[in-house]
Amino acid sequence: MLKLDGVEVVYNRVALVLKGVSLTVPAGQIVALLGNNGAGKTTTLRAISGLLAHERGEVVRGRITWGDNSLRERSPDYIVRQGVVQVLEGRRVFEHLSVEANLLAGGYTAGSMRSSRSELKMIYSYFPRLADRRNQRAGFLSGGEQQMLAIGRALMAHPRVMLLDEPSLGLAPVLVSEIFEIVERLNREEGVTVVLVEQNAEAALQIAHHGYVLEDGRIVLEGPADKLRQNQDVAEFYLGLSGVGERKSYRDVKTYRRRKRWLG
């Protein structure tokens, strides 16, 4: 079980971005983390994976634990070795390396080059498109293929928890559902626990077991995914619907938001 308890993150020693986030991710589940731009979703993931230093961020309070191990103030490579691997937002494939080299680099912590090579077949079975392009430079793949490569690369590290940051970003709807299907399969067949950060709340809640809604560095709502989908606030606010499948105009959403912010 991955657990965050009252986590506070400060950027540049002044800007408090996470204001006490607590959440629980039971092993074997998919947990969605929803919210708007700047709500603190990515920061939450980076706090877990230890990748805040590049952004001059720092966890100043709270506990982050995976099973019995504390992940706070640990180096990113220690955290990966514990089985917690983040797939960064914007794919971030190694553009100048081949698809296969990308995957092999993903297996860095998992063992020798030979053992990594023997695992390529498993990755290609999940992502047949990557098998076709194994010798191509990753920078020349399409966006969807790059996202698949980013996930496949992380899989090579033998994750028990995968932190997925906006895998749907900039992808066509067909690809989004293809990728989400694969994520669901990985969860079901390989038992990978998934923390899924998404702006595409609809897609995320379809595969998630549980969801959290972040706003301005705080968790404002949580619940089982199907409950969240029926929740009126979420439906209006994140799924853009009001009533039964009727689209709401942007102006109403804005007023609603403003009211909500004032009422706290």
Partner: protein, 294 residues
């Protein structure tokens, strides 16, 4: 015609020695992404260490050169640990300025330790020259070129086949992504600087043998840039090709143009070529343009 062949052959061989200078630079870019302006000074340090070991301490050649390689690897790793790691989350500009400062420090330190007289390196293969078909090449140049080729193959294998080599390439491509996969950035940075130090030791030995060891060797540092700009900042094969091109330009301009343009022209010619290349291809002849899909 025979003058032409002679100039070409000696250009190619000297070019291999330029490649050796540039190799240390390339390895650092590959492994840590840092543009290192102090590689020339590190080479000078290597030259002083090897000449000190071989003449003052009197260590035999077969022990002295490997010992210098080890010492310089430690120096390289030390530079990474104490000068660059504290800056690891700072901007590239800060890192580059740090390497420039480092260069000045080494330049000042060397005469403080060893004085500023000209030293020599007792050569195993003295000053003879090989003569083939009327073409003559200093023995030291020939064997150094052979060594560069061996290094080239070894590094090629290391970067494409080994786990650490692949991790180094990953780090130079995207540091954060590499870290997200558990690649230990500190280890990779330290290894690349240690490799650069070891290469600098070899370069110091070779160039010190050719030109004599004194602090004026730092001018070699300036020649790293035409080589790597031509060859691409992080291509090992590119460094060799760039080195050969620079060697040829220098050799031909020395042979044909120095009489008309003054004796120093051959030294400047590679730098003029650097400028011209930058006008046409800002990322170098073999460098990688940033991949952008449209």
């Amino acid at each position: 015609m025979s003058e032409f062949t002679q100039l070409m052959v000696s250009g190619v061989f000297t070019g291999m020695l330029y490649a050796l200078l540039a190799l240390g630079f390339v390895v650092v870019v590959k492994g840590s992404g840092v543009i290192n302006f102090s590689q020339g000074e590190v080479v000078v340090l290597g030259a002083f260490v090897v000449s000190w070991l071989l003449t003052d301490v009197g260590v035999p050649f077969w022990l002295g050169v490997p010992a210098t390689v080890v010492v310089m690897m430690v120096v390289g790793a030390g530079i990474e640990r104490f000068a660059l790691r504290p800056l690891q989350n700072e901007s590239m500009l800060a890192l580059v300025m740090a390497t420039i400062a480092l260069g000045s420090i080494i330049r000042g330190l060397v005469p403080m330790i060893w004085g500023d007289g000209l030293r020599s390196i007792p050569s195993l293969i003295d000053q003879r020259r090989y003569e083939w078909f009327g073409i003559s090449i200093p023995t030291i140049t020939f064997w150094s070129a052979v060594m560069v080729l061996i290094l080239l193959v070894a590094f090629g294998f290391f970067f494409s086949r080994s786990r650490l080599g692949l991790a180094m390439q990953a780090v130079s491509d995207d540091r954060v992504a590499a870290q997200s996969l558990g690649i230990n950035i500190r280890l990779v940075n330290a290894v690349s600087w240690a490799m650069a130090g070891g290469i600098a030791a070899l370069a110091g030995y070779v160039w010190g043998s050719l030109l004599g060891v004194d602090s004026r060797l730092v001018v070699l540092g300036a020649l790293i840039f035409p080589v790597v700009i031509l060859g691409g900042l992080e291509s090992i094969l590119g460094a060799v090709i760039g080195g050969i091109v620079v060697g040829l330009v220098e050799s031909f301009s020395a042979g044909y143009l120095n009489d008309d343009l003054g004796a120093g022209f051959s030294t400047v010619a590679p730098l003029i070529m650097l400028l011209l290349v930058l006008f046409v291809r800002p990322y170098g002849l073999f460098g990688r343009p940033e991949i952008e899909r449209v």
